[in-house]
Symmetry: C2
Subunit: 192 residues, 2 copies
């Protein structure tokens, strides 16, 4: 199997982004994460922070659209989805890379040699990790995680109709809490 692209979906705080970056570094290929955000912002004319929120932590754009059955036509989130879809498809055409998040697993499902990975860990591991990586916030780490995960899952479900975190959607899923971040990198690397 020739896996030119690795897509990494991840639970918030599981270290999926770190795994993607290390993997790309070791393989000597680009990792698209924040770069993707910047590109979508450039294409759309929206602010980068707005794009970030819309894709992961929207104030309810696609959710309210879902509830209203999109009576009012395409939303900003739909517009961003289209740009994101085209950008990810283009990147996958250009060459080998790692793409973190942004439903790339779904977008590339038929288009590229693609290894689809999902990273998760238990709440305790992730709570500890997000305080380390992102610092303390007013909201408790557990609440931040539940909130983020819920929105990521809802976004993924709305645009892909796939169940987020269902083993059947991926080539492999890894528990970074029990296996460790470094070992996750090595397993994926061995499959590339």
């Amino acid at each position: 199997m020739k896996n030119r692209i690795v897509t990494i979906s991840r639970e918030f705080g599981s270290g999926g982004r770190t795994i993607g970056k290390k993997l790309a570094e070791e393989l000597g290929i680009p990792c698209y994460d924040n770069e993707l955000l910047q590109k979508i912002a450039q294409e759309s004319g929206f602010d980068e922070n707005y794009v970030r929120e819309a894709g992961e932590y929207a104030s309810g754009g696609y959710l309210s659209a879902a509830f209203s059955r999109r009576a009012s036509g395409p939303s900003n989130a739909d517009y961003l989805w289209k740009i994101q879809y085209d950008l990810i498809s283009e990147l996958a055409q250009k060459g080998p890379c790692v793409i973190v998040g942004r439903c790339a697993d779904y977008i590339l499902r038929d288009k590229a040699d693609c290894l689809r990975v999902f990273i998760h860990a238990d709440l305790k591991f992730r709570a500890h990790r997000i305080v380390e990586v992102y610092g303390e916030r007013e909201q408790s780490p557990e609440q931040r995680i539940k909130d983020k995960d819920k929105r990521r899952a809802a976004y993924h479900r709305f645009y892909t109709d796939m169940k987020w975190g269902h083993a059947q959607n991926y080539d492999l899923t890894l528990n970074s809490g029990t296996l460790g971040i470094e070992r996750c990198v090595q397993i994926i690397k061995s499959l590339y």
Copy 2:
């Protein structure tokens, strides 16, 4: 991480049993699959075939029990569950091994150093494989798979309250259809 026990849950036809057997062979440790069935049959006094059906392909014992809220007390399936629970706990105490199916992932969740694996593959791969391994039957291979999976998931759900096939329940899940049986064996082996 010291993983003395490997539990393998699997979709019907995905090659999970084959992976378990090869893995145990390469690691030089026992693999409990049919042996477990025989032990449960001995302990319970039930016929081996009945035990097999009750755990995987029951005619509705636990399902009807679920619907009737077990108004009539413990069923045969409950009795077998208890024996299975105790046997698997004992085996895990005895020494390193691979255990295929039988909710061992759940039974050992707090009791042993346990690497919990789930093997799956798409319908086409599995349909092809079950005809190769088990031969043609009156029912179409796709129907056989859907039927078996549905019952396995219901059994698992009833006795463990865990969602079968949810990445979060496992240390790793592998798609044997895209990765290949041999590669699955090697990945698990590298984690042992």
